[in-house]
Symmetry: D2
Subunit: 132 residues, 4 copies
């Protein structure tokens, strides 16, 4: 998500009931990591290796997570936490499966790296929310 | 999902590593409840009421959940549990928002009912997995 | 989509600017065919056969088509026609690829059948719009 | 999509039956424009203005288009052309609706700009394919 888009998003768009608005730079980084992970997983799934079903699941979850962060008015702290946990778990599953053949497939290596980055970004969001 | 489709799905398609195959009738009911909830939420979101962002989030999560149950080879018990929890939490959020105007909008009432049915179906899956 | 949901959708939800409202039974049949095709393609894609990328593309397009029919306020006759054409073309591509191994895979046969049914339902919508 | 990801995609991933491989820089630009448009439309749809249903339709179509370009093994020239036409038409519809209130909403202005950029990128792909 580019800076221009973040600039026009109002504070209301970034807020959930009962929560202070999230740090915009952290959210932007998390949305970007989700988008990159969806793309990496989509490419990886076309290789017809045994990681493909996990890659497809992870691509869909990352897209759903990214969109939810763009529609925070429709989230609560509880549903946000649960969605972050699901995204982290799905990235973990996909990363584990891709790492099994990362040596022979540079696409699987790239996919595992994108999953790791997305997990880390979601965990940072989770920590920030827990501390708020 | 019709009975014909369930009939051609192999046991391998229904299984996760480290887990016995799920009960097919329970999974079919859960996939159907997710599909119905995605549709109800999508219709409800076009009303431009304040539940719309939650409805869009819930539609995406229910579609992601349904697809994940069709790609169980790419799930682990841990990621499946986390995804079910996220779907339950998102349905709860959407149901709560729609119930606030269920009296004046029959579409919101229908959406809240679909969210409730999807939550119940996901909870049944969750209980069955925890007992396995 | 069940009859209850169709019952609560207003005529406004079924209409595009500059077009009479569509026949509700025909739309319901088309949305159902798209939903069934998305599910069949999603299952088929997990088989890791060479049709899988076409199945994934078709699943996404059918979901997008179904949702667009639930959000007709955001469509014009021109964009509706183009979307129907894309869905028809994508179903054709997926059906052709799945038919190449329908003899050895009952899942591919089921997927090809679902693609054919979705194509036919989209073509019926297209004809009705062209005649309106 | 970053350069690293493009770098690991093989020529096979970029090719359709009966077509030379597409220009990778042009495809990368088109995938990026689709991703940016999906994000802009998703944000715009949360404003609850009358463009919202068109924005949601456009977000879904742009995501489907982007993914199809990452799964070219599952496309034919005919289905690719039809998908590009649908994406162009959907961006046009969304842009037209958002432009009606671009003066009062900077988010609608941003969304219309993203739709225009996505249309242009899809048209460039279309022209290149027609010339091949």
């Amino acid at each position: 998500m580019d800076a221009m888009m973040m600039g026009v998003m109002s504070e209301d768009m970034m807020s959930m009931d009962g929560m202070p608005a999230m740090d915009m730079a952290m959210m932007q980084a998390c949305m970007d990591a989700c988008a990159a992970c969806e793309q990496a997983c989509t490419v990886c799934s076309t290789q017809m290796m045994d990681c493909a079903p996990a890659c497809m699941n992870c691509a869909d979850m990352c897209n759903t997570m990214m969109r939810a962060m763009m529609r925070m008015q429709g989230m609560t702290p509880a549903s946000m936490m649960a969605m972050l946990d699901a995204c982290i778990a799905m990235c973990q599953t996909c990363m584990d499966m891709c790492m099994e053949h990362a040596d022979m497939s540079p696409v699987c290596k790239m996919c595992a790296d994108a999953c790791k980055a997305c997990m880390d970004a979601c965990m940072a969001m989770r920590s920030a929310m827990a501390a708020a």
